[in-house]
């Protein structure tokens, strides 16, 4: 939690989704590189993370309906929104349509909406209620501005993740950043070192954690 002077974010990412689908776990997996049991979020929580030459602001929000008064505040000028649902609960998937569509009207016009299924480690493929195809379809419907070629090249903004097993979490965030803050070839070369340093750090802190466990 370094808090130095002025902080100007280049991209604002918000995460939305029903109560207890694992929004905070997802964010903490990416930011702190570890998984731990989370107490339910109160209101909205603010995280700050550098990515390459850029600064990313992440708003983690509470899923409880009583905080809907805050949504206008954190959605405004959001460049990307993660719409999280629990892969094991079709109700939370339906909520993405019912609850959060209207909330997102306050976000940037070109806001990238990423549909993210959580808790894939608990998912039994044979009995799953929400198919990957449905998730993909919702993701494409929410992002009419994504052209076919881009989707073919980079994939649809749909991910099935596990914060517990660290599956697809980094990939999902990288997808967002690559799309919203594209690095030029020159920048990529210059900051590649930096970007991978962050990755290495995450790897190493995680490795350390594992050692302690075993």
């Amino acid at each position: 939690m370094s808090q130095t002077g002025k902080r100007k974010a280049d991209l604002k990412v918000i995460i939305l989704g029903d109560y207890a689908v694992g929004k905070t776990s997802l964010i903490c997996r990416y930011i702190d590189g570890k998984f731990q049991k989370q107490d339910s979020t109160v209101g909205a929580a603010f995280f700050f993370k550098p990515w390459g030459p850029y600064n990313i602001a992440v708003w983690d929000t509470a899923g409880d309906e009583r905080y809907s008064g805050l949504s206008h505040f954190y959605c405004r000028s959001a460049g990307a929104a993660i719409l999280a649902f629990d892969l094991n609960s079709p109700k939370t998937f339906e909520s993405l349509w019912a609850r959060f569509g209207s909330i997102l009207e306050a976000a940037n016009e070109d806001c990238l909406k990423v549909v993210v299924g959580t808790k894939s480690d608990e998912l039994d493929q044979s009995t799953r209620d929400v198919s990957a195809e449905e998730g993909r379809r919702l993701a494409l419907e929410l992002n009419p501005e994504l052209d076919q070629a881009y989707v073919e090249r980079c994939g649809a903004p749909y991910f099935e993740t596990s914060a517990l097993k660290n599956e697809n979490v980094t990939e999902m965030f990288e997808y967002i950043f690559q799309r919203c803050l594209p690095l030029s070839a020159e920048q990529q070369r210059r900051f590649k070192g930096k970007v991978s340093t962050i990755d290495l750090l995450e790897e190493s802190s995680e490795g350390g954690g594992r050692k302690k466990c075993c």
Binding site: M1, Q3, T4, G5, K6, R7, Y19, T24, C28, Q38, D39, S40, T41, V42, G43, A44, A45, F46, F47, D60, A62, G63, D64, E65, R66, Y67, G69, L70, H72, F73, R76, A106
Partner: protein, 559 residues
Amino acid sequence: MATDHREAEQPVNTSDSDFQEDVEFVETNCVPGKCNSAVFDTTDELDDLTLNLANGVIQNHRGTITSLIRKRAKRSNTLKDEEADQDLANSIASEEANSIEQSELSSELSEDENVKNGLEDLSLQDTESVPEESPSVTLIPSSSETDYVNSLEWKQQKKHIFILSESGKPIYSRHGSEDKLVTVMGVMQALVSFVQDDKDNLRSIVAGDHTFVFMNRDHLTFVGVTRGRESTQQMLLQLTYMYNQVISVLTHSTLVRTFKQHRNFDLRRPLSGAEKFFDNLLNLMDVEPGLLLTSVRCLPLDSSVRDIVSQTIVQHAKVKDLVFALIIAQNQLVALVRMKRYYLHPMDLHLIINLINASESFKAAESWTPICLPKFDATGFLQAYVSYLDEECQSCLLLLSVDIEAFYTLSECRAKIKERLDRYNALTAIGNSLQRHSYSVQQCSIGDLRHFLYKARSTAQYTSPELGPPYNTPEQQDRLFGLYHFLHDKVHSVSRPLKLLYHVGKYETLLGWVTQGFELYAVFGPLVTKNVAIHAVNKLLRWIKREEDRLFILSSVTF
């Protein structure tokens, strides 16, 4: 002193008038923790309760937030961000809409008195028409539900608290899931409605060891069941805290509007996720005397350090629309800075402490959350910026603003405040004070004094030593707390309030003493005579007086 021996020889429960002589010996001019400029809003909740046993909201600054928002709107006419303006307009419009809707309730809503009457009328009308159609009353319980309610574990709980809607819908139960208690709550609502049919109010029922206390407010029924030593009055105070917690989550306006639109509304939905705040508040009430005394405990700190902390806040959080700024460490107040003319009520502060105490999530990141402070203004939300200042997550900074957009500004304030406090070693000083665990009763060097609570009435703050032997086990602490409840109740008895009470119990001798300036509750060993006890509390008062700079916040700091 010699004249007093005659009374000391009969150490049975004596009180009031015989005591006038003793009072002469007491140095009434010594009032530690006294402060001429008010630090807190010191309206006494117990007085309120006595005066306002009838339903109704007690508010001091009703509409404050609206007026503050209006002020802000005027100021920011030149605001560049159109959306922000829109936001303001919306929030004002919604406030106005609320008040319009409310005024439909009764002819004139601007005066609290009328609100009260209006609501009462409404509740009477409702209960007259509702009982038969209430679904829970007619519901036939399945066997598993009956089993649960009949389980020994559930029955043996020391204190139950229930919240239900006027139509008997369960909203909250302290023990057990509320939807398993539909039948029990149906019975409760039936009892309440039955009495209300006669244009009367059910206040309490005593059955064996148990006392049932009922409170109706704003379409909600609060029921407390205890077999502890809390009196009806004290239970009513606890239920009021629960009511305040509901308001804190929803605001009074929303609560009234919701039930006006749908009388059968299931309030659990908007309250979902807030259960932990109710649970935690009830646990706090069982261990924290501040709620019983409606006063605040300050972290013992050298006044120079406290000055540095509050001056740092004044200098670096001088932001428009910031109403309160405070630092809290382990349920104790470190510093409070307020906007001129606005005061924080201890009951509101307890809700703030409960918010922090009940949630681990503030430890992970800076947070931004709406909170309604019912004593400050029950009609709207303040926005709370919450962030811990140290790595160990002990000192928590709270900045309460009326501006929902202020987050980033306040985040910058926090960075500056933290930097300064680090430079002056103030955070280390706070940490040290926390580690020292307050102070032990031995430090007062008064033989036979085991524990005490001292409340300075003018500042609504209290102090008490840490719990040492024999009160070092949860059972003994519980018993001690029961003694304080007993003493507090006897002294504040509605029918016969006392100034001084000397009570010899089986295991300890109690002395309760209330003056205009303070309330003192002291616990001695069992063999202490009245004379010795009086002598001891005089000595204690002098000790507190010597330490008052450290134990209390005596100067009120404003932006």
